[in-house]
């Protein structure tokens, strides 16, 4: 008996050690390969070194983190600090000289430009309004959309659809999409939601399965299971967003004090990276529309 138990204990311990060993060596191997690859392809990248601070909009969290991460992977001797404190605070910090780049998810105000901040638009963010695919409504005015989200309009009949209740779907209160949507429609914290879902996937599933549902999502996730509604007669597309005729879009700005060419080398390299083919891919990968 005792021997049996002991054997089992030893066997289990051996298994655990083996698994740990495999995991550890696996990790080491991966790192080794990465380093080799880097040193071969990017010799000159190592010469660039320095630290910069990027400060601002919480909506730009995804873009900023992705940018900082892939930039630092290409330029291993640089460090990009990213903090999310809000657009206004970001631009203020740039003007005060405490940050190198100020992230802002809106265009700069005149007084901000007057204090030296330069508006470098790096990407555009579009928000699509979706309904279930059986809904005959295919156009809403901005005002109608506001009334729906404020809860004053609660039947599709009032906006030219069939008689069915409107199920108003939104995101949880900290969501960047929600903040952008409410900000663009000027209905911050006054929306009357039927559902507050915590992911884009849940929003899509909900809209596709509930007749009469309406929701907002990032343009890049829209697919055939839902129907996109035009706002003021304009459908959200890369072209309409770029030319500015679609109302639910906003620029992502990375403000600098003075033009880009006046910045330190790391900041310049960062913008060069962002405007390169790699940067365009990066912008697309986080669901945004790159500029030409």
């Amino acid at each position: 008996m005792r021997r049996g138990i002991l054997k089992k204990v030893i066997f289990m311990a051996a298994v655990v050690i083996l698994i740990l060993g495999v995991l550890l060596t696996g990790c080491k191997n991966n790192k080794g390969i990465e380093k080799k690859g880097e040193s071969k392809t990017l010799v000159e990248a190592n010469s660039l070194n320095g630290k910069i601070l990027m400060l601002g909009s919480t909506s730009m969290e995804k873009l900023s983190n992705a940018l900082a991460e892939s930039f630092m992977a290409d330029y291993p001797n640089t460090t990009i600090y990213v903090e999310f404190v809000g657009s206004g605070a970001g631009i203020e910090a740039v003007n005060a000289g405490t940050a190198d780049i100020g992230n802002s998810s809106r265009t700069l105000k005149a007084e901000e430009k007057a204090s030296g901040a330069v508006e470098n638009i790096v990407a555009l963010d579009g928000i699509a309004i979706i309904v279930d695919s059986a809904n005959p409504v295919d156009n809403l005015s901005v005002e109608q959309l506001q009334e729906i989200y404020l809860g004053n309009t609660n039947n599709w009949r009032s906006v030219g659809g069939v008689s069915q209740p409107i199920v108003v779907i939104g995101r949880e209160s900290a969501s960047g999409t929600r903040n952008a949507f409410e900000e663009l429609l000027k209905i911050e914290d006054t929306c009357a939601y039927s559902n507050e879902l915590d992911s884009t996937g849940a929003v899509m599933a909900k809209v596709s399965s509930i007749p009469g549902a309406i929701a907002y999502v990032s343009l890049d996730v829209v697919n055939d299971t839902v129907k996109v509604v035009a706002i003021e007669g304009v459908l959200p597309m890369e072209e309409t967003i770029k030319e500015g005729s679609y109302p639910l879009c906003r620029p992502f700005v990375m403000a600098t004090k003075g033009s880009i060419s006046e910045q330190n080398e790391v900041t310049q390299a960062l913008f060069a990276y962002l405007y390169s083919g790699k940067g365009t891919e990066l912008i697309k990968s986080v669901g945004l529309i790159p500029l030409d």
Binding site: M1, R2, R3, I5, L6, V9, A13, T58, F84, G151, N154, Q164, P165, I166, V167, I169, E172, S173, A174, S175, G176, N179, E188, D189, A192, Y193, S194, N195, E196, L197, D198, A202, A205, K206, S209, I210, P211, G212, A213
Partner: protein
């Protein structure tokens, strides 16, 4: 016999070495659990209490407005607490009768062949991941619930239509999720009732159903109470499934309101929250933790009392 044989072959030295190593390993494993529980408790208290004092205990626990990202944020979680309590109680009201009667069926009534079908069914139910319950809820239950809602509130001008994501949907999902726990524990409790009780009752001329409901069920009372308490624990701690079907709007818990539970409040906002908002989420976690501790303590009390009862 075997162990004696082993001790004859082994020398004293190997024996003590083996004994000691095994003892150390076993003790280490035992301590690991205790350390885990202790560190979780300490962590929750350290992270959950600051917000209580920063915002005010009254503001958090007894206020009904939850607007963590407004210009003037408010962090009232009263509705969230009430939702968790109401949801759990309702789920118990639906789930426990079904579960206990299923247990009666399995333990007393069912022919062997049927048991062979029902028992694996119950076990499978226990093994289904909660996110699958949630998906089924969002795709099947919610549309059905929405049809019911449309019929019930057809002429209501003020009702906020939820699209079927409401307290009732969440309660149904929770009731199904606690079934395996309730069934398994009640069944073993029923089987543990001494056969002599049953024989005596039948011999006195009681019918089978009379015997089951008047003798065996009361005999298994403490076991069934345990099943209910564990069911409560499972229901109050569930997050994934109900976050998909409950609608997640902070509202007073009425059947056709979109509601947010303690668990879903944390799940839905943790990823983006920062600063005080994040601390308040930890406070919600602490409240949930307190609830679960309470349930565990009452369970321990119950088990102790049940044990004494059996001893006498």
């Amino acid at each position: 016999m075997e162990s004696k044989f082993a001790s004859i072959i082994g020398t004293d030295k190997t024996k003590t070495a083996v004994e000691k190593t095994a003892r150390t390993i076993v003790t280490a494993c035992g301590l690991f659990t205790v350390i885990a529980v202790l560190s979780i408790t300490v962590y929750m208290v350290l992270n959950g209490t600051p917000a209580l004092f920063l915002v005010g205990i009254k503001e958090i626990l007894f206020s009904t407005t939850w607007k963590p990202n407004a210009a003037v944020p408010s962090y009232g979680i009263l509705y969230v607490i009430l939702t968790s309590i109401t949801g759990t109680v309702l789920a118990i009201f639906i789930g426990v009768p079904i579960g206990v009667l299923t247990a009666v069926f399995l333990a007393e009534v069912a022919p062997k062949k049927l048991t062979a079908i029902v028992r694996p069914g119950v076990e499978l139910l226990a093994g289904i991941p909660s996110v699958v319950y949630g998906l089924l809820g969002i795709l099947l239950l919610n549309p059905l619930m929405y049809r019911l809602e449309l019929k019930l509130f057809e002429n209501s001008a003020t009702h906020r239509f939820t699209g079927g994501s409401n307290l009732l949907s969440a309660v149904i999902v929770l009731a199904i999720m606690i079934l395996p726990t309730v069934i398994n524990i009640s069944e073993s409790a029923l089987r543990a009732v001494p056969v002599s009780y049953k024989q005596a009752s039948l011999a006195l001329g009681a019918t089978r159903m009379q015997t089951i409901f008047k003798v065996i069920l009361p005999g298994a009372k403490s076991g069934i109470m345990t099943a209910i308490v564990l069911g409560v624990g499972r229901a109050i701690g569930e997050a994934m499934a109900i976050s998909l079907v409950s609608g997640s709007v902070v509202n007073f818990p009425l059947p056709f309101h979109s509601v947010r539970f303690l668990t879903t409040a944390i799940v839905s906002e943790m990823s983006y929250a920062s600063g005080l908002h994040r601390q308040v989420l930890f406070t919600i976690g602490l409240v949930l933790f307190a609830f679960i501790m309470l349930i565990n303590f009452s369970l321990m009390k119950l088990l102790k009392r049940g044990g004494e009862g059996n001893g006498k």
